[in-house]
C-alpha cells in the first residue's frame, strides 16, 4: 500500500527518520550483533582474552541438563500461565457478556489489574503465601498442609504461575469480551430457538466463532509468559528452589549477570531470538488468517 | 486576466501514456468543463494543472508564465476536491482561513475575506462548526469558500458534485455557475456527467483515452459532434448509431431502408440520429417494430428495432403514449439536416 501523494525532498524525511534509526541501530542491532558474535567465543578464566569456539557454546547448551531443564520449565510454566489466565478470563467474559445492564461497571472493575506490574504482583502473592506470615499459608497449615515454596519446587511453580496468570486475566478478559460482543446476537438466538442450552451453544457456536480471538490470545500470552514474567519470578523465587522456576529469560539473566558466563548467555540470547522470531511469524500467520474473516 | 494554456502536454506512468499531447487554450474568465468516461485521464489533466502531478512532456502556462515546475501553492490556483478534503479537526472558519494564515496575511484581512466568502456562500452562521456537523451541501460550500478566499487566478474543480444527491446536485450546479459568473475567475471543471458538463461549461473538452476528441461550446458539441465518440457521449438518451452505405446524398441502411442526407459521402459510413430528431411521419422511410415504452411525462421514449433487422433504435416522441396506442409497427421520418455521418474507420465526422 502506498500513498498517491508524496512530498518532495530527500533531506527532510531522512532527518525525520534519523532518531528512530539511530536508536534502533545503537540499542537493537549493535547489541543483537554483539550477542551473535559473543556466542561464538569463550572468555578465558581471567576475562582477559576470548577464544573463538564456533558453535561450541550452542552444542554445550543443548547438552547441558540445566539448560534443557530450563526449556522444560519454560514450557510447563507458559502453558500453565496461558491456560489458567485464559480460562478464568473466558469464564468472566462469558458472564459479563450475559449481562446487559452494568457490564461496563464490571469491565472497569476487572481491567485495572492490567496496570499492576508483574514484579508488584509477585510481591503481593509472595506476601499472601509467605511461609511464615502469609494468610494463605496459615490457612493451608490449619487444613494440615505445610506450604513452603522456598523449599518445594512444585509449590514454587504453582505460586509463580498463579501470580503471572493473575496479572494477565484483565487483558484476556478485555479481548474475550470484545470477541464475544462481536458475535452477532441473531446467531445465538437462532441456536437458542433451536433448543441449544448454554453449554451446547457455547461449544458449538460461541467457541468456534471466538477461535480467532482465542488463537491470537494464545500467542500473545505465550510471549508474555516467556519474557514479561521475569519480574514475578525474580521477586518470588529468584529461579529456585533448585532452579525449579528458572525459565529461559531468567537463565539468560542469571548466567550473564550473576554467573558472568557471557558466551553462554549470548548463545542463550541467540536461541531466544529464534524463539521470538518463530512466535512473531506465528502471530503474522494469524493476522493473515484474520484478514480472511 | 488569467488564461491557461496547454501546449502538447502529455503524461506517462512508466511506459503507459495516459495523456497524449493535449493542446488547449482557455480564455480569461472562461468556464471550461472537461468531460469523459472514468479513466479517460480528465482528473490527471486537472491535477497536472494544479501541480499535484508532474507533467511528463509539453508546457503549461498560466497567463504567460510557464508553471511546469512550480509547486501548487505558487501557481495561484485553488482546487475543490471530489470528497471536499476539509480538515476534519478545524472549524469552517479555520478551514477557509488556513491558506491565508500560511500566506501570512494580516488577521483583520483574513477575517474580512473569510466573512465575505461565508456571506456569499450563506455559511455565516456555521463558521464555528466542524465539518462533520454540516450537511453534504454545506461541506461543498465550505470547500468552495476555501477556494474563493484565496482570490486565485484559476479555479479547479474535480468532480465536486458527485457525492451529493440528485436534487442537491442540480441546485449546487446552478450556484457554482452563478458564483463563477459573479467572481469572473477562469475555471476548469472535471466531471463524468454530461448533463453537468452541458449546463455548466462555456466550452466543453471531451476527453477519451487521453486524447481530446472535441473542444467547443455545448451547442457545437451537440449539433456537430466531431467524432463518433462525442456523438454518443453528448446527449441523453444517446444518439442512435447505425451503419449504412452512402452514395452521395443517398444512404442505404442494413435493412434496405433509404434515407436522404444533406451531407454527401460514399461507401460504408456510420450514421447518427438523435432520438429527439426522429418524428412520427406516415410518409417517412423508417419502419420500426415498437418495443418497450418509457413514459417520462413530457415525452415518451420508445425502444424499437428496425424492421427486418435487429438494429435497436431509440426515439423520443412528445406527449404521452403507450405500447397499445403506438401499435406494433410505426413509420418514422428524419429530416436530412439532422443526420450525422461519420467515417466508419476513423470515427471522424464527415463534413458536407
Amino acid at each position: 500500500m502506498e500513498k498517491r501523494v508524496t512530498f518532495k525532498g530527500k533531506k527532510l524525511p531522512l532527518l525525520l527518520i534519523l532518531p528512530q534509526v539511530i536508536i534502533t541501530a545503537v540499542f537493537f542491532f549493535w547489541p543483537a550483533g554483539q550477542a551473535i558474535y559473543q556466542s561464538a567465543f569463550i572468555p578465558d578464566p581471567f576475562g582477559l582474552k576470548s577464544q573463538f569456539v564456533g558453535f561450541d557454546n550452542f552444542t554445550f547448551l543443548l547438552s547441558d541438563k540445566y539448560y534443557l531443564a530450563a526449556f522444560t520449565t519454560t514450557a510447563i510454566f507458559s502453558s500453565l500461565v496461558t491456560v489458567v489466565s485464559m480460562g478464568v478470563a473466558l469464564w468472566l467474559a462469558l458472564m459479563a457478556d450475559r449481562i446487559i445492564k452494568g457490564s461496563s461497571a464490571y469491565r472497569t472493575l476487572l481491567i485495572w489489574p492490567y496496570a499492576v506490574a508483574p514484579a508488584v504482583a509477585g510481591v503481593l502473592w509472595l506476601f499472601l503465601f509467605s511461609p511464615n506470615i502469609g494468610l494463605a499459608s496459615w490457612y493451608l497449615e490449619k487444613l494440615g498442609y505445610q506450604w513452603n515454596h522456598t523449599l518445594n519446587g512444585g509449590e514454587a511453580m504453582g505460586l509463580v504461575v498463579l501470580a503471572s496468570a493473575w496479572g494477565r486475566i484483565s487483558y484476556n478478559f478485555l479481548f474475550f469480551l470484545a470477541g464475544l460482543q462481536a458475535i452477532p446476537k441473531s446467531v445465538i438466538e437462532a441456536a437458542a430457538i433451536d433448543g441449544a442450552h448454554f453449554w451446547r451453544r457455547f461449544w458449538t457456536i460461541v467457541f468456534p466463532l471466538l477461535s480467532p480471538t482465542t488463537f491470537f490470545l494464545l500467542v500473545v500470552n505465550i510471549v508474555y509468559a516467556f519474557f514479561e514474567t521475569f519480574g514475578v519470578i525474580h521477586t518470588i523465587t529468584s529461579g529456585g528452589p533448585q532452579q525449579s522456576t528458572t525459565i529461559l529469560v531468567y537463565k539468560v539473566f542469571s548466567d550473564g549477570f550473576v554467573g558472568q558466563d557471557l558466551g553462554s548467555s549470548a548463545a542463550q540470547s541467540v536461541i531466544l531470538l529464534l524463539v521470538v522470531g518463530l512466535l512473531t511469524i506465528l502471530q503474522f500467520k494469524f493476522i493473515e488468517r484474520r484478514v480472511h474473516y | 486576466m488569467s488564461t491557461v494554456t496547454l501546449k502538447s502536454v502529455s503524461k506517462s506512468y512508466g511506459k503507459v501514456k495516459v495523456i497524449h499531447g493535449v493542446d488547449v487554450a482557455i480564455n480569461d474568465k472562461e468556464f471550461v468543463v472537461v468531460v469523459g468516461p472514468s479513466g479517460c485521464g480528465k482528473s490527471t489533466m486537472l491535477r497536472m494543472i494544479a501541480g499535484l502531478e508532474t507533467i511528463t512532456d509539453g508546457d503549461l502556462f498560466i497567463d504567460d508564465n510557464r508553471v511546469n515546475e512550480l509547486e501548487p501553492m505558487d501557481r495561484n490556483i485553488a482546487m475543490v476536491f471530489q470528497n471536499y478534503a476539509l480538515y476534519p479537526h478545524m472549524s469552517v472558519y479555520d478551514n477557509m482561513a488556513y491558506s491565508l494564515k500560511l500566506a501570512k496575511l494580516a488577521k483583520s484581512d483574513i477575517q474580512d475575506r473569510v466573512n465575505k466568502a461565508a456571506e456569499l456562500l450563506q455559511l455565516s452562521e456555521y463558521l464555528d462548526r466542524k465539518p462533520r456537523q454540516l450537511s453534504g451541501g454545506q461541506r461543498q460550500r465550505v470547500a468552495m469558500g476555501r477556494a474563493i478566499v484565496r482570490k486565485p487566478a484559476v479555479f479547479l474543480f474535480d468532480e465536486p458534485l458527485s457525492n451529493l444527491d440528485a436534487k442537491l446536485r442540480v441546485q449546487m450546479r446552478l450556484e457554482i455557475r452563478k458564483l463563477q459568473r459573479e467572481l469572473g475567475v477562469t475555471s476548469v471543471y472535471v466531471t463524468h456527467d454530461q448533463v453537468e458538463a452541458m449546463t455548466l461549461g462555456d466550452r466543453l473538452m471531451v476527453l477519451n483515452d487521453g486524447v481530446v476528441e472535441q473542444f467547443g461550446t455545448p451547442i457545437e458539441l451537440y449539433e456537430q459532434p466531431a467524432t463518433l465518440f462525442v456523438a454518443e457521449f453528448i446527449g441523453s438518451p444517446s444518439m442512435n448509431i447505425v451503419s449504412a452505405n452512402a452514395n452521395g446524398h443517398q444512404l442505404t441502411l442494413t435493412n434496405g431502408t433509404q434515407l436522404e442526407s444533406s451531407t454527401s459521402a460514399s461507401g460504408p459510413v456510420m450514421l447518427g440520429i438523435r432520438p429527439e430528431h426522429i418524428v412520427q411521419d406516415t410518409t417517412g422511410n423508417l419502419l420500426v417494430d415498437t418495443g418497450m415504452v418509457e413514459q417520462l411525462g413530457s415525452n415518451t421514449l420508445v425502444h424499437g428495432t428496425l424492421s427486418d433487422d435487429n438494429t435497436p433504435v431509440v426515439y423520443s416522441l412528445p406527449g404521452i403514449h403507450t405500447e397499445q396506442s403506438l401499435g406494433e409497427k410505426m413509420r418514422l421520418g428524419v429530416s436530412q439536416d439532422s443526420i450525422h455521418l461519420f467515417n466508419s474507420d476513423t470515427g471522424q465526422r464527415i463534413m458536407s
Binding site: K3, Q20, L94, L124, W166, A192 | H89
Partner: protein
C-alpha cells in the same frame, strides 16, 4: 450488545454472583496488601494477620514516602515517572516522525529503514540484555535517566500504528494542504498531528504503563538506590538472608507503585482499551 441470550431470575443472579466472586478473588491480594500497609509490623508477624485495616495508614505511608528502606519512595516514584513519561513521549515523538517520513516521502534507503524498524518487533529487551547493558555502560549511561529511557524508546509497534493511521488519512487532505500552500512540516503539524490526537492519547496510555512497569532493565542499570524505579525498588527493600522484611512499608510501597498506572487505566478506560486493541493489531 450481549452475545449470549440474557437470563432472567435465578440465572441472572448466578451470573452476577460469579462475576462478583471473580472480582473479589482478583482484588483480594490487593486488599490484603492495603490492610498490611495500615497495621504494625508486629500485627503481621504473628499469623493470622488482621483482615480489616488498622490505624497506621498515615504513619506507614509517611515512613515509606520520606524514609523508605534504601531510598525514599518519593524519589523512586519520581524516577518511575520520569522513565515512564520519557519512554511514552519519546516513543510517540520518534514514531510520529518516522512514520510520517515513511508514508509521505520517497527517499533513498526508505525500504531498508522500514525493514530495520520492522525487525525490532522481534527483539524484546529481555532477549538482548547483556550486550545492551554493555552498550549502555560504554556510553557511561548507567544510573542515568537517559540509560533508563533510550534503549526502550525505539519501538516498531508505535511506528506501525501511526503508519496504519496515516494510510487511512485521505490523499486529498494532503493535496488540499499543498494547494493551500502548506509545506511538509506545516502539513505534519497543522493537519496530521491534530488528526492523530486520539491515537496519540491511546498509545500514550499503553506506553506509560509499559514504561512504568519495566523491571529487568532498571534492575540492571540502576545500582544507585536513588536511581531505582519504584517497581524494581520494591524487591530491593527485602532484606538479604533470613531477616524479617518490613512488610507494612513494603506493602505501602507496592500500593504506591500501582497507583499511577491504575489511575491511568481507570480514568482513561476508553483510550486504554482503544490503545490495547490497536497496538495488538
Amino acid at each position: 450488545m450481549s452475545g449470549m441470550v440474557e437470563k432472567t431470575g435465578l440465572g441472572a443472579w448466578m451470573t452476577h454472583l460469579s462475576l462478583i466472586l471473580g472480582i473479589l478473588a482478583i482484588c483480594f491480594p490487593i486488599y490484603l496488601a492495603f490492610v498490611a500497609s495500615t497495621v504494625n509490623q508486629s500485627d503481621l508477624i504473628r499469623p493470622p494477620m488482621p483482615i480489616v485495616p488498622g490505624d497506621q495508614f498515615i504513619a506507614n505511608y509517611k515512613d515509606a514516602l520520606f524514609r523508605g528502606i534504601n531510598a525514599p519512595v518519593w524519589q523512586m516514584l519520581l524516577n518511575s515517572m520520569i522513565m515512564a513519561l520519557g519512554i511514552a513521549i519519546g516513543k510517540i515523538i520518534i514514531s510520529l516522525m518516522s512514520a510520517f517520513a515513511i508514508v509521505y516521502f520517497r527517499f533513498p534507503l526508505r525500504n531498508v529503514f522500514f525493514w530495520l524498524i520492522f525487525l525490532t518487533l522481534m527483539l524484546p529487551v529481555e532477549v538482548r540484555i547483556v550486550p545492551t547493558y554493555e552498550v549502555v555502560a560504554s556510553f557511561k549511561m548507567l544510573n542515568s535517566y537517559s540509560g533508563l529511557i533510550l534503549p526502550l524508546v525505539a519501538s516498531a509497534t508505535a511506528t506501525f500504528l501511526f503508519r496504519q493511521f496515516y494510510m487511512t488519512v485521505p490523499d486529498e487532505l494532503a493535496e488540499a494542504a499543498r494547494v493551500d500552500g502548506a509545506r511538509p512540516m506545516q502539513f505534519f503539524i497543522d493537519i496530521l498531528l491534530p488528526m492523530s490526537r486520539t491515537n496519540i492519547a491511546a498509545l500514550f496510555v499503553i506506553l506509560f504503563i509499559y514504561g512504568w512497569n519495566q523491571y529487568l532493565w532498571p534492575l540492571l542499570i540502576t545500582t544507585d538506590p536513588n536511581m531505582n524505579t519504584i517497581v524494581m525498588g520494591i524487591k530491593q527493600m527485602f532484606p538479604s538472608g533470613d531477616d524479617v522484611p518490613n512488610w507494612p512499608v513494603i506493602m505501602a510501597t507496592a500500593l504506591l507503585a500501582m497507583l499511577p498506572p491504575v489511575c491511568v487505566v481507570v480514568f482513561m478506560q476508553n483510550l486504554f482499551v482503544k490503545g490495547l486493541v490497536e497496538t495488538e493489531k
